[in-house]
């Protein structure tokens, strides 16, 4: 049976509208603005001093969904950006060139660029460009990659030392002292939302899964990515958990009949999101877990902010962002998802824009098919650039894959 209740999505619309209104009004109200990246961000530190967060990745993905990304990307290419670099970056540069007029807001200029270098080198290039174009200050928060030996105490110390420097930078810009109590309060709110979101994600173990853990989860994750640390965010996840529990109890799911349970790896193609989803829906595919819904935090793996040790927990959170894990860890996590959520297959959506996500996925496919014996489909397009979405080609690949899974199922039945 298909789900009917969709209250959380309505609630989310209102919250995001308020957020984008705040962005539009920021310059007039002289609200200080900090730009941050989603993976491993340290918004708790900037929020403790009243900075309004701006997430250029979110702005870019919204442009993708609203189908204006193509023109913005071309505007950036006109000033010299290569067709071979990240579409999110070009979307954001295009926005800047077009007077920051975003479909949902007038994006304010940055007072501070907090480059949380966690899992993506392009982040550095992105904010270096914004620093040059806006003349804004950058703080580069260097977050060590999780190497083979795991996270060492010295890695955490290194990040904590920088977080304290960042707090000083924020305090200097604001002209007010940094207050630990404010940080602890915000961290506690982050924690509360994380607990609720992690519980929600685990409901996908049910049959049928009450929600699509890729195509729907990437929307449900928006508040924790954009509004983490606020009371509204906690309320949202409380409501979402309730709604999903009710769906689970009623046996409702994202597709009329759940025929295939899959794990998704990689970001979705935002400019063609619906069309891409439909290619799977017609096969009765429901995602039961995905890596992209964890880019804002591996909460399901026990990674949590902690008001009792705010600085260390922020550092650990930032280090343990999905794309900051080495490939051995990423591969083990995906295998764990396949087993825990009893998935039939892994689907990899490889995007050209994000090498941090993509490079290694083809090797992952080799490993999953030949060594782990897990049926794996890999398809390619892009998360931002509409030019890379070849629907007919994707349909052929997806149809062939699920036909073959279906055939195997019939033979073994």
């Amino acid at each position: 049976m298909e789900k009917t209740e969709d209250r959380a999505k309505e609630m989310q619309k209102g919250m995001l509208a308020n957020y984008y209104d705040a962005l539009t009004q920021a310059e007039e109200r002289r609200t200080p603005v900090a730009y941050l990246f989603i993976p491993g961000n340290v918004v708790e530190v900037t929020s403790a001093l009243g900075f309004l967060p701006v997430y250029p990745e979110i702005n870019a993905l919204q442009c993708g969904i609203k189908k204006v990304a193509g023109d913005l990307i071309l505007a950036a290419e006109d000033i010299g950006y290569s067709s071979d670099v990240c579409g999110y970056v070009k979307n954001d540069i295009g926005l800047m060139l077009k007077d920051r007029r975003h479909p949902l807001a007038r994006i304010p200029k940055p007072d501070l660029l907090v480059c949380n270098y966690s899992g993506c080198n392009t982040f550095i290039k992105w904010f270096e460009a914004l620093a040059q174009f806006y003349g804004a200050e950058v703080y580069l928060l260097d977050i060590p990659y999780v190497r083979g030996g795991g996270v060492s105490p010295s890695d955490v110390d290194y990040v904590v030392a920088q977080l304290r420097e960042l707090a000083e930078v924020c305090a200097r810009i604001r002209g007010v002292p940094f207050e630990e109590a404010a940080l602890e309060r915000i961290v506690a709110q982050s924690r509360a939302a994380e607990d609720l979101w992690a519980q929600t994600l685990d409901l996908a173990t049910r049959r049928p899964t009450p929600f699509d853990a890729y195509f729907e989860a990437v929307f449900y994750m928006a508040p924790i990515n954009i509004l983490r640390g606020t009371p509204e965010c906690v309320e949202y996840y409380r409501a979402l958990l309730g709604e999903m529990q009710r769906r689970a109890e009623a046996g409702l799911g994202p597709v009329p009949e759940e025929r295939f349970r899959v794990v998704f790896e990689g970001p979705p193609p935002w400019p063609h999101f619906r069309a891409f989803w439909e290619l799977f829906k017609k096969w009765g595919v429901a995602a039961v877990s995905s890596t992209y819904s964890k880019v804002g935090g591996l909460y399901d793996q026990g990674i949590r902010h902690d008001p009792a040790r705010p600085w260390e927990s922020i550092a650990e959170y930032a280090i343990n962002c999905y794309t900051n894990w080495n490939w051995g860890m990423r591969s083990d996590l995906i295998r764990k998802y396949v087993e825990h959520f009893e998935a039939d297959a892994l689907v990899i959506h490889s995007v050209k824009s994000c090498r941090s996500f993509s490079v290694g996925q083809a090797d992952l496919r080799e490993e999953f098919i030949h060594e782990r014996g897990i049926p794996t489909l890999m398809v390619e397009s892009d998360l931002a650039d509409p030019r890379y979405f070849q629907e007919a080609q994707l349909r052929n690949r997806i149809d062939a894959f699920f036909e073959s899974l279906e055939h195997k199922r019939m033979v073994t039945a």
Partner: protein, 385 residues
Amino acid sequence: MLATPEGLYSSAEATLEDLGLSAVAAWKARTGGKAVGHFPVYAPAELLHAYGVLPVSLFGGWGKVEIDHADSRLQSFVCSITRSTLELGLTGRLGGLDGMVFSNICDVARNLSGIWARNFPSMMMEYLHLPQNIESPSAREHMIHELERLSASLSRLTGRALDEARLGESIALYNRGRAALERLAALRLAEPWRLPALEWYLLLRLGAVLPKEEHLDALAAAERLAAASDRRPRDGIRLALVGAFCEQPPLELLRVVDEAGCFVLEDDLALGQRWYASPVREDGDPLTRLAEAYLTASRPSSVRHHGRQPRQQQLLERVRALHLDGVLFATAKFCEPALYDYVLYKEVLEAADIPYLHLEYEEKMSTFEQARTTVETFVESIMFE
């Protein structure tokens, strides 16, 4: 071999084409030592040397490797050097290496470390997270930890403990190598016709595979040969070549630049060979000195964040200080660090009214006529300005 320019440079070219690393195998057979490869751009070669390990800087397949096996493990939008290096590994041609060192020069290189670890489990593999926040006081401690971790791996590989005195000697040796390159660079600035870009480049590349002691001999020979050269003084367009710090341009492209009448007087070719702008200090704890040098003496490059001294400003200052006529951007296809930086560099150059040209290359590039025409037109536009 080192007595004539022909001997020196043709043997250097042959070394470049030794994709199966037979010279490394010969060195190992001769010395009984281990060899560790590293992906460009930076690796603490001094530390490897101190363990008696031969550091081998890998530069891909040089256009001579058919990509077959690597295609199943890397997408088509990945740069040539990554694909061909993996191909060389998967076809057993890097079997002479006992280990590999990767670092966070870009996302592709970083992720290649994971592919490497899975496909070559018996090889020592270390990944260095090089500090990007060089202005933070905590970066020094972090860099020391990274070097200590690599040191521990090398210790396991060689069965030796770190000998600090030997590390000090290795630092001094590599300082001598960099000083020799600096002398050649100064000679080129004064009389560029004596050492064209292609020959300068071959000397840099020799340092990628030769033991440093032998590289020093080659550099000394090059210095003698350049000083004694009877090449006639001539005029040329004075250029910086920027963007080729990791994957290297085909030799033919450098030949095109030389033949078009350019003097490349500033470049980031095989940057790892000249990583530091000033010598690594030879007093105090050598490992700490190496860590400090990375933070304070590294040359500007697209693989590092430079805090309050952006690279584009440093390039502009350099162009002015050396009285260069323009900048030639030579970037490898799909090389994100170079492609992003190109935009920022060009904005600064345009504001300063400095001419520039952008060329893109890849390993499978086989015709250079279009590049020749483009470079020649660029040269003419500067000459007749």
